[in-house]
Symmetry: C2
Subunit: 164 residues, 2 copies
Amino acid sequence: MFQAETRIEELISKLREQGYRVTPQRAAVVRVLASSQEHPSVEQIYDSVRVDFPMTSLATVYKTLAVLKDMGEVFELTIAGQSSRYDGCRPHSHPHLICVECGRITDLDIAPVGETCEKVAKRTGYRILHHRHDFFGVCPDCAGDSEHREEAHVGARAQQRLVP
Amino acid sequence: MFQAETRIEELISKLREQGYRVTPQRAAVVRVLASSQEHPSVEQIYDSVRVDFPMTSLATVYKTLAVLKDMGEVFELTIAGQSSRYDGCRPHSHPHLICVECGRITDLDIAPVGETCEKVAKRTGYRILHHRHDFFGVCPDCAGDSEHREEAHVGARAQQRLVP
DNA sequence: GTATTTGCAAAAAATTTGCTATGGT
DNA sequence: ACCATAGCAAATTTTTTGCAAATAC
């Protein structure tokens, strides 16, 4: 929130530096990414962007995200059973906490495992680019809900299949 | 490879215990999952299964994987830009090494972060179910390839006086 | 002015689902 | 025999792409 403006400027600059054109649509996507803690989906980014730029297309959002991903400024969080979420606030790998019920994604500030990256590189001979460390669980809200209404509560956002 | 048989039996038993019927198709999927280190995709599982059971359908593979995932015996590794891969050899969360060039996925045997899970649970109030710790990088083979490609591509002239 | 980028709509992937016949228990 | 499951094809969902028109630089 605080650093959102800074991050927006940073991303805009980097786009320019790399020879990309800064269109209003791209700027809008950047703004949404930099100012949200929500790790939004493409659809959510699209909706937010269209508040200010109703002419923006979904394809453009995808294309912009592809550019930012290639630049290494945005990380795509693929998740089983739902569409990808995007993290553009912090350029560096950091752990996430993901509620498997409601889909909420939170940044974690636990000690980074930076040294482990180097350890892995040394041991395996890989050149490590980044890593993902995500914890999946049930958030307090959803835990409370499911205690009370186990069967009725099928997460509002999370589509889970029911199996006998 | 050694423990494959054991793991196959284990999975079959667990299916039975939970009231699922053990069909030849399901057994075949289990066999592929338990005996491969490759973290196969659905398509690869499908192809392997069809060697022995050519009548098996892709939908059945998906359905079987859904069952095994729900049982917590198979983990779906979602990856940006490609279809999911499945890890059914070890039931417990463990880190992976993923080559972003060739897609190869290798199990890592570095120290588990079990205590971190509990730490996260304590700190956040989430009930942690599992976690993902994956390192993305370029494997030695692919690194070699791209070095050669680059050299060939740059050509003799450009090489003479370039920055270290 | 020119090359990139947009938006659209259509295509391509990837995954799921509904329904009936089949087959495990 | 009963009911879960397989197979198939159609439906969904998610993401990508080709191309003419618009536009950032």
